[in-house]
Symmetry: C2
Subunit: 283 residues, 2 copies
């Protein structure tokens, strides 16, 4: 496995690989890899000749006061974990290679970017869509693999690919969880031992929602109230949002049609750490 | 020469051409081709194995009350003119192929899009940048040829290519003019015989600015005043703007440094037809 840091060198390699008839898969990450990322890399490995894992903490998707500077980074460890999951190339550009002097262009996916995470993090998805478009143009993938953990990001990237005609197949791979259900996340390292135990309430509340919806509950407000009560029982937990929405438009639902797929998602602060999780369930 | 209307078919062809080692050039147009477009097609022909001319009147770049519905269209004539200038493929998608149901993504080049043409035509360059990004992804060019006639568009596309890492060479080809200096434009057909004669004042005023700047005039307001007076002498002419600006940032200059390149550009209504023109000159 090799590591590439120059955007031009990465683009030249990608072009040569395509010319040689190789199928390229891209797994975009912000690094500090865990088993969740490794599952994405393995999904990519199964679908391509060459697997590129990008490791880039994208300044454009962090707001003021967010954790850009403190976001965990460990390149040597990332290289090992990427290689062991089957990556061929780690693409890890420095920020000033990605955003050169005079940078002005950005990509916007309207309607999907200002709800849920976007409401709490203005500008976040514009940063995400912009860096994803750049990564697509630099690494020229036939397949790109994203995680369902970031459900809104996946919905936005889906529209980006469709609307701007990126010629690639988008794979959204399932969330990987710890034994107690906590979704794997690089931000889990921020949790104290006590907070770590309480953090399992996110996935417990999602399982509660799944059970209620599958059992035929149609009162969405009642489901949200039950989830809130469960989460509120953890002393370190503060709910940012709980949403029951259409998985494609991300608009909150007011009623459930039997057979319809719904996206239940939430963001909860456990102490000072903001965690997200979601599930899709058939009504 | 063949005509392709399906975006998917065009993308498949482009991918096959690239795989076969062919060098692709794209000339994006809104059709109703004239000698100006043909010069772009010839510039493309000299630089590539396969020349694709897109013909698409892009609804996204027209504002309410602008001439989207009346913009001149003549596909049979465009095919002939494209072929005679050396095009291999005319790509002419219907609007609902380019903007499918649920379209939400767009590309923004901030700072360059809200001045000059953008001030008079809000949203115009967002529409331009979005369709150009789509055309790049559909036709996969190694070279893209734009006209200097649309100087602001060229500056914006240059940033788009650089900032979103499109892997292509951008060529900006000189404006082609009628005998009296009028820049060729599909919109010239809107002019009456009398207006057509008066329309030559745009390029005359640019030549005046060139002479003054080359002669060492440093009072930009004086140059604009002289240009205005020249234009105002034509009874059908109404000035929209006259700008003396930095060619890359498009910001109006307040002073000239000797040796600096400056962009002199203007928009003038001749009767009901809005025309633009520009020149770059060394101070």
């Amino acid at each position: 496995m090799k590591t590439v840091t120059s955007t031009r060198a990465m683009q030249r390699s990608a072009e040569e690989l395509r010319r040689a008839g190789k199928r390229i898969a891209l797994v975009p990450t912000m690094g500090y890899l865990h088993e969740g990322h490794q599952s994405l890399i393995r999904a990519a490995r199964a679908r391509a000749d060459v697997v590129i894992v990008s490791v880039f903490v994208n300044p454009l998707q962090f707001g003021p006061g967010e954790d850009y500077s403190t976001y965990p980074r460990d390149m040597a460890r990332d290289e090992k974990l990427a290689a062991s999951a089957g990556a061929d190339i780690v693409f890890a550009p420095p920020p000033d290679e990605m955003y050169r002097k005079g940078h002005r262009a950005s990509v916007l996916v309207e309607g999907l970017s200002d709800v849920l995470e976007g409401r709490s993090r203005p500008g976040h998805f514009r940063g995400v869509a912009t860096v994803v478009a750049k990564l697509f143009n630099i690494t020229k993938p036939h397949v790109a693999v994203f995680g369902q953990k970031d459900a809104q990001q996946a919905a936005i990237v889906r529209r980006l690919v469709e609307d701007l005609d990126f010629d690639l197949e988008l794979i959204v791979a399932p969330t990987v969880r710890e034994g107690d259900g906590l979704a794997m996340s690089s931000r889990n390292v921020y949790l104290s031992v006590d907070e770590r135990a309480q953090a399992a309430v996110l996935s417990r509340s999602l399982r509660l929602a799944e059970e209620r919806i599958r059992a035929g509950e149609r009162d969405l407000e009642a489901i949200r109230t039950e989830m809130s009560a469960l989460i509120a029982a953890e002393p370190a937990a503060r709910i940012d949002y709980i949403s029951i929405a259409d998985p494609a438009t991300l608009q909150d639902l007011t009623a459930l049609e039997p057979g319809e797929m719904v996206l239940v998602s939430l963001a909860v602060r456990i102490g000072r750490t903001r965690l997200i999780d979601n599930t899709t369930v058939k009504a």
